[in-house]
Every structure is written in structure tokens, then in C-alpha cells.
Symmetry: D2
Subunit: 426 residues, 4 copies
């Protein structure tokens, strides 16, 4: 199924006048207080978030999985799904592939299909947390950190292969998320595990094309429940520094202990020029992988405040890779992704509204009340008309969820694909 | 210092036209989607939050306290401070007294002063977490739960005295927060401690006037660091049930373990008709006692969603007692309280905007995407014009923080009271 | 494979003399300080823990599962596995069945097999957290709390059927663990969900035979990540009270928010006569389902201190149902269970060593130092000789793990069952 | 008050025979399994822990403080108190001074007094978290990170002065714990705050004598409740690296978010040669500053496992500075410290019993069950006879708490000092 611009234009008609009224009012109001609304619209339009190829079907937990109908059964169908989201939102212009679940059969065909949907190939992801059929060595006790040289070499080779695949598609970064760790005290020698990991990463890093970046994730626990080799940003940064200039830390919002101040981590990494990318999701307890902004939207705004600051003030930090990494256990995956994209745009737009000069002045003067007022003034602004306008100008839907339902996208996908397809992924 | 209506009217003039434009636009927009804006304004105006008498000076931590100038040095000055906040916000029409810090010398004079400022006497608070000078028994090892009958009796007598004082002022409820617990495993016999607590509470409860309510707080830890006798809502409810019909659980937002779903607790207590009151504050780590809405405003909104639902659907639950319980370590206490009041009104106004019928329908249909859209639509609305309008109609300030600063309230208080006064409290 | 007493007697010979020396020394030492060692040995021998039928194969996470060789492929083989553990440890004399994974084909045959291994049928467990093939209604959005009456009725009927099956085998209790809850704010109406759950539980409860007990578990999150209908002990107790006298709360050690004081919950439930059963495991982060005692053995000891106190002082509380509920992701499941059983016995033995009279006296006197000394004196005692002696006297292995390896149990199971069997379960 | 060796020898007589029996039995048993008991006793005797000068009086919380009688009122009395503990335990041979609370009046006299008690001067601690009387600038909004250059300079100068004082006494390290941070989002510019902190630390570091070390603490929150400038080990390490070779990270056990794997942090810091010192305490919720080993003794053992490994395998890491940092809210401070010292020795002794070669072999083979057995075998050993023997050989008390009470130390201190002295400190 494809959605064409005319369909959306027709759907938008109903709400257009109402939207125009709201947008004009907000634009006027923002202009009055000195905001360049058109620059802001341009920034919103530029901001594109990659959709991971494994997040287009229903997710599950260790207690089971409730399938969703019309799931994509092939890489082609996954790209088609992202195309649908991109048509509606105009912010999902990239895909982040997971290997080996999504190895293309025909590279040219896949590249053409993606181009047709205006989708780029973002960072590629390796998988050494599961054993694949006919795999020689097992990752049960770790991959890049394993005590066995044979296992480490297999895992290194797999990562190199992932880079090779990504390179053929135009990707420029490898994301490494390691499940390596231990579930019981004493199981691991922490120092040996870290040293193996560092050496393995160096081997992968040195094999990458010269214009590639390496993103190193961290996570305190799960699937191991006592220790994780790369447990926090400090460890990730240490490893990135050990690899070289083009190795960076990647922050996944769900990969932190309760109450961690994530925005401070983001800020310090940018100061050091070492924040590479971002995995968006939301959570209440652990790595819950919920819809972005569904639980702690203010924390997301505070993180974007630091991101915006860093993008404006930290030339030492490279352009960031943005990606959603969520699991869709109870919602239609495409609806869930659309809600995530809107929450990201909302947080970004609000962060752009912060009066940075006034904030800096209030901070210098330790005027804590004023600092809070400045953040809250931006946050309390209803920026939906801005986001809608940005979408509208690029041919998207005024209200993507409404459009998705009006166009009966899911019904069409089920008709095309059937009820029983199951997408590879988590 | 007093602020009169004319001063505020003059100050409001500057922003009045701009406000009017925004309010009209929002009112029109809300009316179009079926909201009765005037009913909503009435509800906002009715909503009054008590200010605790101990929260008008600078707060501190175990590492020390940085004083603030112009703090109130007497109960009279505390009421004057609340009067100032109430003038500006029109939502602080009550005081919650802490005994023995704020025992009136002249009851009639205090009642007249409060009436002058349009301030009522809300729940009174006892203190058995500290020893007072010349106190016979010590609360070092607990009060209502102490192994010593003499200590328990002293604590019971103190609570009865607090009720008596409150009764003279027109209060109708006693709030009991117990610090009782243990700092080391083995220190307490949990069963004996709970049984003593239950019996002590019954003794206090039975001595209260027939129109009084008893609010029982719970808290997992601090100042004891291993166990607290009333560690959670389940224990508080058990004790309230053991006392009788007019005993209720009081929820303080900061008194929960990390990640607790507080809104569910609120909802279930209202279903059972046992939610008595509420202490507002915000926190990131523990009982941080920060400005309401400064850390997790969406969680506050979700709590208000349940409160609004309960107030509309649970006649079995009594009217709730609302109070702020925060500590002002780095901000001017009055500015901090004003920001808290605004955050409370904002959350309440947004919760009132939720389309409850549509939400119920989406819940019944398990349309999770729609449930989220409905909540977020309300939350993303900028309700500040509504709150300003409600204030304006009752003679308050359009922007209380701006007015507070324009009127140089703090400077005036310092002039009147001097630099070195220290308010009793935490 | 079976292990006979002679095999174990032969194996025990090697360490027997050494054990005897250690046991005699400890027994003498304990007797000197007034402990009745033989009464203690009798208590240890009596203490039997049920093994859940789903925990005999490798466990996994949402990121995958690494299989283990020689897993049991049928209920018969599961009972055989428990028989092996029981032979070695003499403390695993019960099985807790999970329905529908382990419905017997031939009840008499299964009962005979269990009797042969000296294994009783403990509480039976229903499953409404997954959809079974050909099931009419789906539990995706809940079971006993579902908004749909048809789903609730199906879930109730399933529970009734589980009771029926258990009854044929001699079980006397039903354990209900509900995954019901919501993953997003707004998804659930908390009050309606709880009311449905209460009514469903009453329907199940009233259908149970008169000598059956109902155990109601609670859990704050997972597999739902925003709310769980039965989120804590307070909710579970409320539901149990709503059902009747034979309904109880079941505590699973992993089902708590970070830092919860579980021993206090245990103590208060026993005071109220409402603690029904116990699920043992250990965890560092969430419901990690690790080997009992592998992470927080002192906390386990503190819990046993309360259990021992309750068993001695709370006649109002019924005999407790003990069960292990762990997941074996990286260890041989049988070795893992043996380690869990040893940790349970160790905690129990140490708790039995606490000088309860001296502790009560120190508590009454608020001699906190002495309270701690009394607990730590018991905890620091090396009780392994006691546990070994208790096993020895009942024909078990002095060192079960060593014996398991010496007898090459896993190798034998693989020979019998093959490499590729997969046990049903988590 | 002083305790002389004869007094202790007399007291020890009562339990001597019993102790000898237990020690001989354990020594024989350990020797049989290859442990060099006398080497182990020597290590235990060598291990000395500094007592902080602020932890000899009652501690408190923001809710108040319950004084303890006979508290030391001067630095001399504090050293006398440590002398008492050292006499009894033979493991408290150092003091860690806090400036400005404990500035000596007469350096020679203090050095002589300390020498008399066999007490060394360990790391000195600066205080920039409180304002001292007549201090020019306030630390309310931070010290080394303050936006004001004047405040930063004052804080730097204070630290330099602390080094100077310590140098006169023979100290060789400065411990910097910064309370700097923010209580509200927006209050701080994270990047500027960190940069100021780095520059301030460099200024202090470069002024230190060439044989001094700088220890940099980290802490996630408290007394600031939104962010702390040095929030975690990653930040501390970054700052230490920015200062130079003799700057190190200091780990305080209570300064971590819930569930942090501290032993892994310790291990990685030693691998990098950057672990400088250690603050012992225990906690259940936050920085509770409870008696060492009173809540999570197994975690302490796991940490010591890494420390022992590092001391044996990481020559790149310097000798560590050991210190207790606890608060005595409900116990006699001296009894509390004695219990802490015993718990430290116990964890150390047990860690020394781990069969490191077997553990390494089991780790290499991924024999997780065996790894756990090896740790638990060491942990389950009752090492109290070893610790008693080590004390006995150096003239300490077999049972320090019993001796402390038999000698009526507190009563004597009250007689000497009176009831109303209050020690400076927290």
C-alpha cells in the first residue's frame, strides 16, 4: 500500500481552516516575542528519525507475544511500512537495519525501493545477543567479551560483515549493542571481560571504512541480571576513546538505572565531542521500550534542551544519529511509531522555543526561579500548530493518526499480507 | 506588607490586552470542541490549596541550610506571607498549622488576621519526630509506636492537644505523619510497632470532635533508613480502617519508592472512599520536596486525572484536603510556592479538559492509541490563559511571579523584618 | 534416571569423616549456648519446598533463550527431574503444576510416579498471561480484569478447570498470578479493572472445594509497563479480604519495587493471618528470577527471621506454601535449583539460631547495637554442617552439587532424552 | 579515658579458652584446604581504616538530631575516642580530619597525642557545602563550580589551606566531596559547571605537594535534588584524568543510584589505576550512612573480592585510602564504629578465602554454578575466630563491643565530659 499526496491533501482539507487559524495565532504570538517562526519550521522539517527494521511488528516480553495482523514479512514490506509512516509524518526518512534479520537479497532493488519512499539507510545494527541457526559458536556466555577467542572472532567477523552490508546500502555508522555480561556474582572477571571487549571493538573499528562511525551503546542490565560489560556511559566513553576519533557513545533513553539524570550525560558527552547517536523510547521501570513521550515528556524536553544547546554550541560534536527503539506490545506498531515521532517533534520544537540568552543570564545570576520560568514557558506552549504546519508544507498529514485510520491502512495491509505474517524482531 | 487590589489591577494593565486575546482565542477553541469554559473557570477558582506554616522560610538538608532574608519570625508574619501569596494567586486561601512551632498566643487575634486575608485553617499537623525543650520523654526511638507506654502516652496527649488547638481555630482535620520506624534490621518488632501505632491512633481518633477527620500519612523511609512503621498506603489504609469511618489515608507525592504508580493508589483509595488528603510537591530521587510540577508534570496531570474522575464518580469519598508540602532550599520561599500553585492549577485545568466519555469508550474498546491521544490532547493544550483568567476574575495577578517582583515584596519584607529572622520549620 | 540411596551413601563416604568432625564441633558449640540441635535438625528436615513444573528447562528473556540439553519433554520427565533433586537434597518433596503446560494424561499414573519419588502436589498455577492455540478469546488486554465479559468468563472458567485438575492430584491451593494491567497511561480505568478482578476472583473462590486456599500474587510491573492491576501487597490483601477467609496473599520475592522492605510486608501479613505462600528467587534489578540467595542472602535471612517469628507467634496465620520461582538462563536448571534449595535452608537454619528472647528484650530496651549483634551472630554462624547432617539423616547427599556432577546426571539425562528436547515454560 | 592492654587482657581471659578452641578448629580446617592462615592473620592486622573526625558524635537528618551524651567537644577528645576504638579493635589506626571543624590549635601537641594512640593522619577533607561564619562568599549555589569567580577562588583557597593543614600533620591526600549541583531543571549549565569544576580542581591539584594525592568523590544527588556536578564515577574519572597522575576517584558506597553494580566500578577503576580511596558505610535507600555491613553484607564481600583481586593483580593502582563515612543517628557512635570495623574485617577475611585460581578457571570455562559455589564457600565460612585472633595478637579485645560495655566506656566519657557536649559534624 502507498499513500499519495493527493489522498493526504484531500484528508487535510477538513481541518485546514481550523489549523490555519491556530497556526496564524501561534505564529503571531511567537513572532511578537521575537521567535523566527520560519526558521523554526525549517528545523522541524529537517529533523528526520530512523525507524528500526525490527520495530514494525508486535513486540513481546519473556511471558509471550500477542501478534498483530498485517505485519511485514520481508525487508521490502518493512520499507513499505516506513514509507507509509514517512508519507504521513514527513519525519521518518530513514531506516536502521538489523542484521541478520534484514539482509537484502538484491541490494539495488532495496536501494531503489527505499529511494522511492525517500528513505535513507541510517546506522546498521549487529546482533550478537542471540544464536542464529547453524552458527558455529554460541553467544550464551557473551560475544565480544567471551572468554573464548573463537567466539570473540566469530562476533567480530559478524560485525565486519554488518559493516560491509551497510556500506553497500549507503549507511555510514555501525551501532553495537552488547548483551554481554553476567547473571551471577563471580561469573565474570570484570577486567578481562572489558579488556576483551575493548580489543574486539578496536578490531571492528579499524576495519570500518574511513568515513564510518562506530556507536557504542551501554545498558545497566537485561538480558543479564547481575552485570553488563558496558554498564554505563562512563564505560562506553572509555571504550570509544580506546577505539579512536570516530567511535562515539550512543544513548538509549531506556538504558539507565532508576532516576538517572540523562540530560546531564547528554550534555557532558557533547562537551567532550563524543555523543554519537540517540535511541528514543520511554519507560517507567526499566528498558520498557514504550512510545516516546508517553511517560515522561518533560524529561524528554529537558534532554532536547541539552541537545539543542549542544548542536548550537559544541562544534566538537558530530551530527547525531537519531533513531526510535521501541517495542509495540499492545498498540498497532505503525500508530505507535507515529505517536513517538510526534512526541519527538514536540519536545524538539519546545526546546527550540527556550530563550537561551535569557536562560544563560538567569543561570549566571543564580536566579533559580527565573530559570524554571524560562523552561516552563517554552514547555507549556502548545506547539502542535507548528508541527502540523511543518508537516503540511512537506505534504504530510495534518493529523497523522486520524489520516492513518481514515485511509484504513492496517486493513489494507492485512488484505495484502494476510493475518498471520510475523515480522522478525523483538 | 499587604498587596491591595488596586496595585494588582494597575500591574495587570500592561498585559491585559495580550491576555484577553489569548483567553478569547482559547475559550473559543475550547467551546468549539464542547467545553463549558465558564464552568471550568469556576472550578479553578474554587480550588484552594493550604500552605503549611513551616514552608515560609528557607528549608535545608542534613548538610546545612542557607538562610533567606526577610523570613517570617512569628505566626502572624506567616499568615501575612500566605496572605501575600493568596492576593497574587487567589488559590492559597488556607493555612495548615504545625504544632508546636505555631501555637497561637491570642486565638481571636489570629483568627481575625486570617479572616482579613481570607485564609481558612486547614488540617493541623502534630510533631512527634523531634524532641522539644523540656519534653519529658524522647521520641528518639519512636512516638506512637514506642515500646515505652510513657512515650506513647506523651505522643497521644500531644496529638490530642493539637486537635484542641485546631478546634479553636476552626480546623476540621488532624494530619499525623509518623517518623517512627527503625534504622537497622532487628531494631523493631514490626508487629508490636504496628499494634502500638494502631492503638495509639484509635485513642487519638476517639478523642476527636465528631466532625473531625484523621489523615494518616505513609512514607517508605527517612528519617529512619531501614523501616518505617507506616511504610505504604496499604499499611495506612489498614490503620485507618482500624480507627473508623472518619480516618483516611493521606498521600504525599514524595513518599514513595522509585517508580511507584501513584495515580493508581489515588484511584483505588477513592474507590474505597478512603482518600483523605494530598500533599503536593515534586521529586526526582526521594522525598526531595521540590516545587510542584518542576520534575514530573505529566505524572501530576495523570494523578489529577484520577482525582477528577474520583471527584465526579466516587461519592463514597469525602472532599479532599489539599496542601503543599515542599522545602525551599534555593529559591525565595514565596516565589517557590507561587510556582507550585501555578503547576497545581495547570494540572487540574488540563485534567478537566480530558474528554471523559471518549476516554471511557476507548478504554472499553481497548483502543490504546486513542486513550493516549485523548490524554495527550488535553495535556498538550496551553491552559495558561484559563488560569490567568480565573485569577483575574478574583482580583489576582495575571502573572504572579512578575507582580511579586514588580512590587518588590521580598525587599519590603526585609525592610520590615530585617535580614536575620529565621522561620521555624524544616 | 534415578539415584538410589546406596549411590549416595557411597559418594558421601569420602567426606563423611570431615563432615562428622565439623558437625560435632558445631553441635557442641550450639549446645553450649543453649540451642537444641536435634530439634533444629528436625525442623530443617521437615521443611519442603515445591519445584514449579516450568522451571526444569532453560529460561530466557525477550532477547532470546539459549537451550539446555536433556530438558524434560513431558510431565513425567519433569517429575523425574524433581525426584532427582529430592534424592540429593531431601528438601524438594513437592511439585507445583502449571496449567495448561502440564495437564496430566493419566492422573493415576502421574500420582503413582510422584509418590514413587516421594513428591506431593502443591499449589496449582493457572495461566492467563498467554493465549493458547485455539483459544476463543485473547488475553492481550487482560484476563480477569478485561473489559469484555466474555474474556473474563473464559479466564474464570480456566481457573476453575485448573482447580479441578489440581483436586484430582491432591493439591489444596490455587495460585493466581495476573499479568493484567496496562502499558500506557489512560489505557485502563483502574477502578473498573480492580472491580472486575475482585468479582472474577470471588467467582473462582466460591467454586473451590471447601478445603482449598486461594493465593493471590502481586507484582508492580512486567509484562505490563505502566500499571499492574494487583500492583502491591495492599491490593492483594484487599482482594483476598474481598474473597473470604481462605484467600491469602502470596509473596514472590522478585515482585517489588527497588528497595522495598519485604520482611516488614511478610511480618504484617502474618499478623493479619493473611500470608498464604511464598515464591523464592533473588534479584538485583527487577523480577530477575535468579538463584535464591545469590544476590541478597542477608535480606533472605531477615525475611526468614520474620517467617520464623510468625510461625512461632501467629497462630492466626495458616501453614505456608513454599515454592521456588526462578528462571535458569545460564546454569543447568537442576544445579540452579539445588543451589536455591541450599540457600533457603541456610537462611532458615540461621533464622532458627536467633536468640528470640534476647532479641525481644533488646528491642524493648531500644538497645539497637545489641539487636544487630543478635541478628549478626546468628547470620555469621556457618550452618552448613547442620544442613548436611539433616540431609544425611534422610539419605540425601552431603554435597548435592558434587554428587550431581559425580553421578553425571546431566549426561545421563541427555543420553536418555537427547539434546534437543525443550521443556514448556518460561 | 584510656584503655590499657592489661584491662583488655583481663577481659579477654573469660572467653580465651573458647576462642582458642574455635580458632584452632578453623585454622586446622583452613590449613587442610591449603590456606596459609598466618599470612591471612598478618593481612588482617595490617588493614587499618581511618575514622573521620566528624563521625564521633550523634548524626542527624533534616528532621532533627537526637544528641548523645559524652560526645567529644574538641579535636583532642575526638582523637581520644578514636584511640579507644583502636585499643579495642586494633584496626582504627588513622583519623581523617574535616576542615574547618577540626583545625588544630597546637600542631605538635595534636601530633603527639595521635602518636600516643598510634593513630596516623589519613586524607584531609575540605568543606565547601556549608557557609562558615564570617565567610565572604556563600556556597549556596555551588563552590568549585560556581558561576562567580570570587566564590570559586574562595573555595580553591580553602582547599589549598586544608592541604597546608594536612601537610603539617603528615597527611598525604586531600579528599574533595562537592555538594555542587542544582535542585531544578535549568538552574545549571551542565557544561559550564563541569568546566569550572575541572579548572578549580586543576588549580588545587597543582598547588599540592608532590607526594600528595587528590581523591575526587562522586554522588548522584543530595544535598542537591536535580543534578550533582560530579554525578558518577565516569565524571569523577574524567576530572581526575584532567588533573593528572596523582588524582584519583574515591568511591563512597552510599553514593550510587539504586541497584548500581559497585563492585564492577571498583574493578574497572583499579584496571585503569585510578581508584584512590574508599568510604565505607551501608544503605538501603539513598546515602543512608548506616553501619557498614548492616544491610548488604554480601555486596560488601563482592566489593572486597574485587579489591583483593586488584591489590593482587593491578600494580598500576596505588595503595588505597580506607575510611568509614557513616552517621550515627540511633546508636552510640563508638559502638556503631566498632560494628562497622568488624564488618569490614569480616568481608576482607572472607574475600581473602576465595580460591582465586579455581575461580579464574571456572570463569574461563563458563562454569557459572562453580563460580557461585566458590564465592559462597568463602562467604559462608565463619571467619570470626580469625578476626578475633588477629585482634588478640595485637593486644585488642576478643569481643570489642562486650569489652566496651564491660569497661563502661560511655559512662566514663560522660563523667569526664558531661552530658551536653555536642561534637561538630553531621
Amino acid at each position: 500500500m502507498n499513500i499519495n499526496k493527493q489522498q493526504l491533501a484531500d484528508l487535510n482539507k477538513t481541518n485546514l481552516k481550523n489549523h490555519q487559524t491556530h497556526f496564524d495565532f501561534l505564529a503571531q504570538s511567537l513572532s511578537n516575542s521575537g521567535t523566527d517562526v520560519y526558521a523554526l519550521l525549517a528545523k522541524l522539517a529537517e529533523f528526520q528519525v530512523a525507524i528500526p527494521s525490527w520495530a514494525l511488528g508486535a513486540g513481546g516480553t519473556r511471558f509471550g507475544r500477542f501478534s498483530f495482523s498485517g505485519e511485514p514479512a520481508s525487508l521490502e514490506q518493512k520499507i513499505e511500512d516506513i514509507g507509509l509512516i514517512h508519507s504521513l509524518t514527513q519525519t521518518a526518512g530513514a531506516v536502521s537495519l538489523h542484521i541478520p534479520w534484514d539482509v537484502p537479497n538484491d541490494y539495488n532493488a532495496i536501494k531503489e525501493l527505499a529511494a522511492l519512499h525517500n528513505i535513507k539507510f541510517d546506522a546498521v545494527n549487529s546482533n550478537t545477543f542471540q544464536d542464529q541457526k547453524n552458527q558455529k559458536e554460541s553467544y550464551k556466555y557473551g560475544s565480544l567479551s567471551n572468554t573464548s577467542a573463537a567466539v570473540r572472532e566469530q562476533a567480530i567477523a559478524h560485525n565486519k560483515e554488518v559493516v560491509e552490508i551497510g556500506n553497500k546500502l549507503g549507511s555510514k555508522a555501525l551501532t553495537v549493542w552488547l548483551a554481554d555480561g553476567s547473571s551471577f556474582p563471580g561469573q565474570n572477571n570484570f577486567q578481562i571481560a572489558l579488556t576483551h571487549t575493548q580489543n574486539s571493538l578496536i578490531s571492528i573499528y579499524e576495519d570500518m571504512p574511513a568515513d564510518w562511525k562506530l556507536y557504542i551503546e551501554y545498558k545497566p542490565y537485561e538480558p543479564n541480571f547481575y552485570s553488563t560489560v558496558i554498564q554505563d556511559w562512563g564505560t562506553s566513553l572509555m571504550l570509544a576513546n580506546g577505539c579512536g576519533e570516530r567511535a562515539y557513545t550512543l544513548v538509549d533513553l531506556g538504558h539507565h538505572l532508576p532516576n538517572t539524570n540523562i540530560e546531564q550525560i547528554v550534555s557532558i558527552l557533547m562537551l567532550k565531542g563524543k555523543l554519537g547517536g540517540f535511541h528514543f523510547n520511554d519507560s517507567k521501570y526499566g528498558d520498557d521500550d514504550l512510545t516516546v513521550g508517553s511517560i515522561k515528556p518533560y524529561a524528554l524536553f529537558l534532554i532536547f534542551n541539552e541537545l539543542v544547546y549542544g548542536m548550537q554550541n559544541n562544534p566538537q560534536n558530530p551530527e547525531l544519529g537519531w533513531m526510535i527503539d521501541a517495542s509495540h506490545n499492545v498498540k498497532d506498531p505503525l500508530e505507535d511509531l507515529i505517536q513517538s515521532l510526534e512526541a519527538i517533534q514536540e519536545a524538539y520544537a519546545k526546546a527550540l522555543l527556550i530563550d537561551q540568552n535569557a536562560l544563560r543570564a538567569a543561570q549566571e545570576a543564580n536566579d533559580v526561579t527565573a530559570c524554571q520560568e524560562l523552561l516552563q514557558n517554552a514547555y507549556r506552549t502548545d506547539v502542535r500548530p507548528l508541527i502540523r504546519e511543518a508537516r503540511l508544507r512537506h505534504g504530510g498529514a495534518l493529523n497523522p493518526i486520524e489520516a492513518y485510520r481514515a485511509l484504513e491502512v492496517r486493513k489494507n495491509l492485512i488484505n495484502e499480507r494476510g493475518n498471520k505474517t510475523v515480522a522478525t524482531g523483538l
